[in-house]
C-alpha cells in the first residue's frame, strides 16, 4: 500500500520563509514545491498541479494577486485552493485577496495549529 502525500506549492520570495514553510508542511505530512516569484508560481501551478497553493502576496516580477488571477484562468486550476499569506492584517488587504480568487487569507506569523486546521478545512478528504 503506498501512501499518497499531497503536493503543495509554496510561493514566497524570501528564502528563509520558504525554508520555514517547507519544514512546517513536511512535518505535517505534505510534499512541497517552491516558487520564488509570481511568474514561476503560474508555471509550476500548471506543470506540477499542486493540490493547494500558499501564495505570498508581495512578490517580484508578478505579485501574488496578479498571479492568483492568472492561475484562476487556467483550465483545471479554477478550483485549486489558494491561501494568501500576508504580513498585513487590514480588512482591505483581505478583501482584495479574496476578490483576486484566493480562498483564504492568513497573516504572518503563521501558527502551526492554525495552518493545520485551515488545510484540513480546504482539502477534500478523499485521500490521506
Amino acid at each position: 500500500m503506498t501512501t499518497h502525500k499531497r503536493l503543495f506549492l509554496v510561493v514566497e520570495d524570501f528564502e528563509d520563509s520558504r525554508f520555514m514553510m517547507r519544514q512546517l508542511l513536511e512535518l505535517a505530512g505534505y510534499r512541497v514545491v517552491e516558487a520564488t516569484d509570481g511568474e514561476e508560481a503560474i508555471e509550476l501551478a500548471v506543470t506540477r498541479r499542486p493540490e493547494l497553493i500558499l501564495m505570498d502576496l508581495s512578490l517580484p516580477k508578478l505579485d501574488g494577486l496578479a498571479a492568483t488571477r492568472r492561475i484562476r484562468q487556467h483550465q483545471g486550476l479554477g478550483h485549486v485552493p489558494i491561501v494568501a499569506v500576508s504580513a498585513h492584517d487590514s480588512p482591505g488587504s483581505r478583501s482584495e485577496a479574496l476578490a483576486a480568487g484566493c480562498d483564504e487569507y492568513v497573516t504572518k506569523p503563521i501558527d502551526f495549529d492554525q495552518l493545520s486546521l485551515l488545510l484540513h478545512r480546504l482539502l477534500p478528504r478523499t485521500s490521506n
Binding site: 528563509d16 520555514m20 512535518l27 498585513h88 506569523p109 503563521i110 501558527d111 502551526f112
Partner: protein, 135 residues
C-alpha cells in the same frame, strides 16, 4: 533629473534611529528627511523597498492616514523575520524524528515565547504608527 534608487533601503533603520518620544507628531522623522534632502538636492525621495515603491511625503509622517506606505513597509519588514523565527521554533518542538533534550526544549520554548512577545510589541508599534497615538 534621474531619481536616485536605493535598493538597500530598510524602513526599520529610519524608525530605529528615531526615538519614539519624538515621533508623536512625526516631527523628528520629518526633520531628519529634510536635513537629508538639504545635503543632496538632486536626490528624489524615491526608495526601492523589496518589490514595493514607497514615495515619502513632504518630510512628514502622515499620521492622520490610516495606513501609509511607510507603515505597510514597516509591518512587512518586522513581521516577516518574526514569522520565520516563530515558525522554525515550532518545527524544532514538533519534529518527531529528532526530539529535543529537556534543556533544548526549554531553550526553544523560551525563544518562541520571546519572539511572540516581540511580535506583540511590533503590533503595538504598528498600531501607534497607524493612529499617530503614542502612549
Amino acid at each position: 533629473m534621474k531619481p536616485v534608487q536605493r535598493t538597500s533601503y530598510c524602513p526599520a533603520h529610519e524608525l530605529l534611529l528615531t526615538p519614539l518620544k519624538y515621533s508623536k507628531t512625526g516631527e523628528a522623522l520629518g526633520k531628519r528627511r529634510k536635513e537629508r534632502k538639504g545635503v543632496n538636492e538632486t536626490e528624489k525621495e524615491v526608495f526601492e523597498i523589496p518589490h514595493r515603491r514607497v514615495r515619502l511625503e513632504d518630510g512628514m509622517l502622515q499620521t492622520e492616514q490610516p495606513a501609509t506606505d511607510f507603515t505597510r513597509s514597516m509591518t512587512h519588514e518586522l513581521r516577516t523575520p518574526l514569522n520565520v523565527i516563530i515558525g522554525l521554533c515550532q518545527v524544532l518542538e514538533r519534529d518527531p524524528e529528532s526530539p529535543l533534550s529537556p534543556m533544548q526544549r526549554d531553550a526553544v520554548d523560551r525563544m518562541e515565547r520571546n519572539a511572540q512577545s516581540l511580535l506583540q510589541s511590533v503590533n503595538h508599534l504598528i498600531d501607534c504608527l497607524r493612529t499617530g497615538q503614542f502612549e
